[in-house]
């Protein structure tokens, strides 16, 4: 178990969960160059009976009530920023199951007999979550919602009878910028509210300065083989910090060039001369940091509610490297995994870790870190072509391993990107060892075409890539012209296309998301019509207002105004009504002759 997920077995298996419990854990893993993965995990359980009786203790009431109201069986919400650099950082944390595409991603199983009912509940859910998490989740409308068929499977234990009556809906907002306002509600849901325990390290400044960060909320029912079912709320924050960047002081974050004598130079170069020429080799220097440096604050004890069995902080480092913890903490080493060390911490003492500089050469390469594991699959996606009419999408999927990889590739595309499905093709790159099996790469296709302005395209492909092969998956599309009111204010920016979701089935289940794309649509020159509209509107408004005022308004002195103007008007109105009535009566009696009378009557009344 040298996997990045080797910390998982430490978390107590679900078979042993008691009805109500909470635990949290922070895993630190130095990555190549100056990157450091910090993976926070908070898990709270509540029994289904308590949940249904609205008896909330560790489960946040705000979220619980939303789930009950919207009939949500299982919920997954992701806030992600940045991209995971799989080539240098290796496998994703949690095998990619706790991250979303850039922006916000939400999928949930809702209790619904029909699709209409599901849509209704989905609307309720997105709107309620939008308020709770300060995110524009309410913009997940019909055009951004899909119903995945094979990509997502329920993670919780659902009885087959309930599962038959649930609907899975998936929505994504690629353009949503995740920021501090999303972190605050996230922290509020924790039992210790970010005041104690590992959550006290979560600082918005550091979190959103990270090269990659993903916040995940998962709610799922867990039914152990014995004992009662529990509802589990799992909150996860994964962030890849740049150590050099994080270590800069808070009040002086500008990366000014360091003084000349602080540069780390390669002195073996013939031209090396202090204060003249310096070939930098600082990238060969390993990481050294303290916990308080990289998170900007120290860790304030542990959360009193947490399970004492679970060590709150674990670090993945070669066993030879020195790591010092503050007093009161005691280190645990695991015999089956020598690159892992965990720390138990006193409840009230402040905790910090100090990683000292490694001395060359150490175990685990010159950088003194645990070598990241190669992922099962690399995925990269980009647009091809140019111009504003047609385009293409190319996904490059590389299988670096010795086993063939089977996976589901899912795209949720906006309706204005009209996919030509007949152009969909998968081919093995010429440089791959076995190029003759291109024909049966795509095993199955689930395709739900888009409807203009109503729903987007849903495309799910079941693919299989032979070992050590690169596959190019391409399809063409047409860019449609929008109505001019449908363009956003920053029309020339382009439109975001959500990340493709890859769910591997073989050799092991994991998730990969590609980066999102920016799609240029044919954009009219808004400046001219907009200027015309704005200028004419302004002119008309100014001129009309003034002229109308001059024509209509009559200036009278205050003493000239009849005192009971209002009363007179009311009386005149009543009189008018009376006359009209009598006129109608008279007209009925004397034929059409009397029709003039009410007119003259009103003029008299004036």
């Amino acid at each position: 178990m040298r996997s990045l997920l080797s910390f998982l077995p430490l978390l107590i298996p679900s078979a042993l969960v008691s009805a109500t419990e909470y635990h949290e854990q922070l895993n630190l893993r130095p990555l190549p160059l100056s990157a450091l993965l910090a993976s926070f995990n908070f898990r709270a359980n509540t029994s289904i009976a308590d949940f249904e009786a609205q008896n909330f203790r560790l489960f946040p009431r705000s979220l619980g009530q939303i789930l009950q109201y919207a009939g949500t069986r299982e919920l997954h919400l992701r806030f992600t920023l940045g991209r995971w650099d799989a080539e240098s950082w290796g496998t994703r944390p949690w095998d990619g199951t706790r991250e979303g595409g850039t922006g916000v991603e939400l999928w949930a199983w809702l209790d619904a007999e029909t699709d209409e009912e599901a849509d209704e509940k989905w609307l309720t859910l997105t709107n309620a979550l939008s308020g709770l998490f300060c995110a524009s989740l309410n913009f997940i409308d019909g055009t951004r919602t899909i119903r995945p068929v094979v990509s997502f499977q329920p993670e919780g234990d659902h009885p087959n009878t309930t599962l038959a009556n649930t609907r899975l809906l998936h929505g994504v907002l690629p353009h949503e910028v995740v920021c501090t306002e999303n972190l605050t509600p996230f922290l509020k849901m924790l039992p210790c509210k970010g005041k104690a325990g590992i959550a006290s390290l979560l600082d918005g400044h550091k979190l959103f300065d990270a090269s990659f960060q993903s916040m995940a909320i998962d709610v799922r029912p867990i039914c152990p083989s014995e004992g009662e079912c529990v509802l589990q709320l799992e909150q996860t924050v994964d962030m890849v910090l740049d150590v050099d960047r994080s270590k800069r002081p808070h009040d002086n974050p500008i990366p000014r060039p360091p003084p000349g004598h602080d540069l780390i130079c390669d002195t073996t170069k013939p031209y090396h001369k202090p204060d003249d020429a310096c070939y930098p080799i600082d990238h060969l220097r390993g990481q050294d940091w303290t916990l308080s440096q990289i998170f900007g604050r120290t860790m304030k004890g542990t959360c009193p509610l947490t399970d004492a069995e679970v060590p709150p902080v674990c670090v993945h480092l070669p066993s030879t490297r020195d790591l010092f913890a503050s007093q009161g903490a005691h280190e645990i080493r695991y015999p089956n995994n020598d690159s892992l060390r965990c720390y138990h911490i006193d409840q009230d003492s402040e905790f910090t870790l100090v990683l000292t500089k490694s001395e060359f050469p150490t175990e685990g390469g010159p950088l003194g870190i645990v070598k990241p594991e190669t992922p099962v699959l690399y995925a990269e996606r980009s647009f091809t072509g140019h111009g504003q009419e047609h385009g293409g999408v190319q996904a490059i999927l590389t299988n670096p391993g010795d086993d063939s990889v089977e996976f589901v590739y899912m795209e949720s595309l906006p309706w204005f990107m009209r996919v030509y499905l007949h152009t969909l093709s998968a081919r093995i790159s010429a440089s791959s060892p076995n190029t003759n099996s291109s024909a049966d790469l795509i095993k199955e296709i689930y395709y739900r075409p888009a409807l203009d302005r109503a729903r987007g395209t849903q495309l799910e492909l079941l693919l299989s890539i032979p070992p050590r092969c690169t596959v190019f998956l391409t399809y063409d599309f047409e860019r449609s012209i929008l109505r001019y009111t449908e363009y956003p204010p920053d029309a020339n920016r382009g439109f975001d296309v959500a990340a493709a979701v890859i769910t591997t089935l073989e050799p092991k289940a994991m998730n990969i998301r590609t980066t999102s794309l920016l799609l240029y649509l044919p954009t009219p020159d808004f400046s001219m019509p907009y200027n015309v509209i704005i200028f004419t509107s302004t002119t008309v408004a100014l001129a009309f207002g003034g002229i109308y005022n001059i024509i209509v308004r009559r200036m009278v002195g205050a003493n000239e105004v009849p005192r009971t103007a209002m009363k007179d008007k009311v009386l005149a109105f009543i009189q008018k009504l009376k006359k009209k009535k009598s006129a109608v009566v008279a007209a009925a009696a004397a034929g059409g002759k009397a029709s003039i009378e009410p007119v003259s009557g009103t003029s008299e009344a004036k």
Binding site: L33, S34, L81, G82, R83, D85, E87, S88, T102, F208, D209, A210, S211, D242, D244, R245, I254, P255, R256, P257, P258, P259, G260, D262, L263, C265, K269, Y271, H272, D275, D276, A277, C278, Y279, P280, I281, H283, L284, E380, S382, F383, T384, G385, H386, G392, Q394, D490, A491, N492, R493, G494, D496, T515, S516, L517, L518, Y520, T523, D525, S527
Partner: protein, 605 residues
């Protein structure tokens, strides 16, 4: 009002009306040229301004400097060590330096064939991923190993490497930064940009192993200059005369001038005094480069893909150093980084008079349009005239009698409303033949090897001069060449020329203007039986014939004919330059028709 109308209608039938068009044509040409000469005046040109608010040029502090200079010097030593190495060895070293910073590096091989020569190389490029970005947008920093003048771009390469290391430390980038280091300033970037947009010919150019998002802008550094420099030369002409958004140039001028105190200059106009002459000279130089449509630097290849790009070239002797150059690039990248939308606010069609003075398309377009209109007016006039033999009678009567017996009334009386049938087949066939043989020079000059090119061109020049004589002889022997035949051939030929030039002027104003001006004698030549007039016409046409103009231009600008032909062929084969089409398929057939008409003896009707 009705009287006015009836006067106008009766005037329509006045044959005197038919004498006006040639004067209108001449007037159009004169106005077109004068219009252009007026543009540099203050009343017609405007000061530039930054239109895109997001750019905020020069509003940020730039910190590049200090100990970065030590690193710069080290990288320059590294570049010196690589000076004699081949492309692959150079790229190996560059790749190792870039990967050291944590930049993702890709390589791309390409081979182009043009004029029998092989242009091959390997691009190396790095993608500095935006720390919190998502690979949706990117900006490009280019430094070609060989500068525009084929020197080692020693400072440019070192500066890009130093900047890459410096940029890596900042977390504020919203777009990926692509560092492109092609082996030369001409073919390398083209191969890379083509492959980035999947528009490459996969037989010669390999695809890119790494990609980022949509390109938002590109800045190339051309810095072989060894001493401290005085000013920054901004090169902005793209392939086929396409230009980058004016906001990009404005921002650089603003950052270099306002923030760094570095003078900027355009079109090699060092010491621009802002006088009328200097402005006109700048504009004409700009028009010449635009008209040639030839790429002027490594940035040129980006512009056809709607990626705004410029090349910065330090020139002159002064006191600014590499760090100042680095700060200009830093400031520009910070500005581009601010962009929320693709550059679209400012002008894409403009003529620069100075770094901060320009004319926009609305102001300059009429001059080229008037030149194009002169051909169309003449074509319509000839079409009308060819159907009215009475007018011809009047004209011939005038010619014969050398005086007018009956003016006005008599002319009106001789007006014959019954138009003569136009014989369209032979004129149309002749014009079609002239246009179809224009494919020959286009093909020959773009496919011949470098050894045979100058010879082929000379043979073609001679052939092109002799061909009209053969044509006129053949036409005369095949049929009786009437005046109507000449009028119709000229009408069709000028009609095509006028329409094509008017269209071209919206795409490449300068090319349309230059071709329009050089082809303007075609409007006025006509078949005549006077040997002296014919000789004068023929001489005028030979002087303004496409081959002679090319030879003269090459001779006056001190470039050998071989180089011109090689460049033209390279432009066609690598950059998709359409100037050869304009010259050989638009201008040359029109000239051929005109010359044939001049040489043909007119047979008495």
């Amino acid at each position: 009002m009705p009287r006015l109308l009836s006067t106008a209608l009766s005037l329509r039938r006045d044959p005197r009306l038919l004498r006006i068009p040639p004067y209108v044509s001449a007037f159009c040409i004169a106005i077109g040229v004068v219009w252009l000469l007026l543009l540099p005046l203050d009343d017609y040109s405007r000061r530039t301004y930054v239109s895109e608010n997001a750019l905020l040029p020069g509003q940020v502090h730039t910190y590049f400097g200090g100990s970065e200079q030590h690193i710069f010097r080290a990288f320059r030593h590294e570049v010196d060590l690589l000076a004699d190495k081949n492309n692959y060895e150079v790229n190996d070293k560059l790749e190792s330096i870039l990967t050291g910073f944590g930049v993702k590096v890709g390589r791309q091989n390409y081979t182009y064939h043009s004029a029998g020569q092989k242009y091959t190389g390997e691009n190396v490029y790095g993608i500095l991923q935006a720390p919190r970005g998502d690979a949706t947008e990117a900006i490009v920093l280019v430094a070609a190993w060989k500068s525009i003048d084929e020197q080692l771009n020693r400072n440019g390469i070192a500066l890009v490497l130093t900047l890459a290391r410096y940029f890596k430390r900042w977390s504020l980038w919203s777009k990926d930064i692509i560092l492109l280091l092609p082996p030369d300033s001409t073919t390398g970037t083209q191969a890379w940009v083509d492959a980035y947009h999947d528009a490459h010919d996969s037989k010669h150019v390999s695809p890119l192993p790494l990609k980022s998002g949509a390109l938002q802008g590109a800045i190339a550094i051309d810095y072989p200059h060894e001493q401290r420099y005085h000013e920054l030369h901004i090169i902005y002409d793209g392939t086929n005369g396409q230009l980058p958004n004016l906001d990009l140039i404005n921002s650089i001028v603003n950052i270099a001038g306002g923030q760094m105190g570095i003078e900027t200059t355009v079109q090699q106009m060092t010491g621009h005094t802002d006088s009328y002459q200097d402005r006109l000279q700048t504009m004409l130089r700009g028009m010449l480069y635009q008209g040639l449509g030839y790429p002027t630097g490594p940035h040129s290849s980006f512009i056809p893909y709607h990626v705004d790009a410029i090349t910065l070239q330090p020139t002159g002797e002064g006191w600014h150093d590499e760090m100042a150059m680095g700060r200009v690039v830093e400031g520009s990248f910070r500005s581009l980084n601010n962009l929320l939308e693709h550059l679209h606010q400012s002008f894409f069609f403009y003529l620069l008079m100075q770094k901060n003075r320009f004319v926009s398309i609305g102001t300059y377009l009429p001059s080229a349009m008037l030149l194009a209109a002169n051909f169309t007016i003449m074509a319509i006039f000839l079409w009308v005239k060819s159907g009215q033999p009475t007018v011809k009678d009047v004209d011939s009567a005038k010619e014969k009698n050398d005086g007018m017996e009956h003016k006005g009334d008599a002319a009106q009386a001789s007006w014959n409303p019954l138009a003569v049938e136009r014989n369209l087949l032979s004129p149309l066939t002749f014009v079609a033949i002239c246009h179809s043989i224009s494919a020959i020079p286009l093909f020959v000059f773009n496919h011949l090897g470098l050894n045979t090119l100058p010879l082929a061109f000379l043979i073609f020049s001679v052939a092109s001069t002799v061909l009209p004589a053969i044509f006129s002889f053949a036409a005369a022997s095949l049929q009786k060449s009437t005046l109507q035949y000449f009028q119709l051939t000229k009408s069709f030929s000028l009609l095509i020329l006028g329409v094509s030039l008017a269209t071209l002027s919206t795409l490449n104003f300068s090319l349309a203007f230059l071709v329009g001006l050089l082809a303007s004698p075609l409007t006025f030549i006509r078949p005549t039986n006077s040997v002296a007039t014919r000789g004068i016409f023929a001489m005028l046409l030979i002087i303004t014939s496409p081959p002679i103009v090319i030879l003269t231009t090459a001779w006056t600008s001190g470039v050998t004919l071989t180089e011109v032909l090689k460049a033209a062929s390279l432009g066609w084969n690598v950059w998709g330059m359409y100037t050869p089409i304009v010259i050989w398929c638009m201008w040359w057939p029109a000239w051929l028709v005109g010359m044939t008409n001049t040489l043909s003896p007119i047979s008495k009707a």
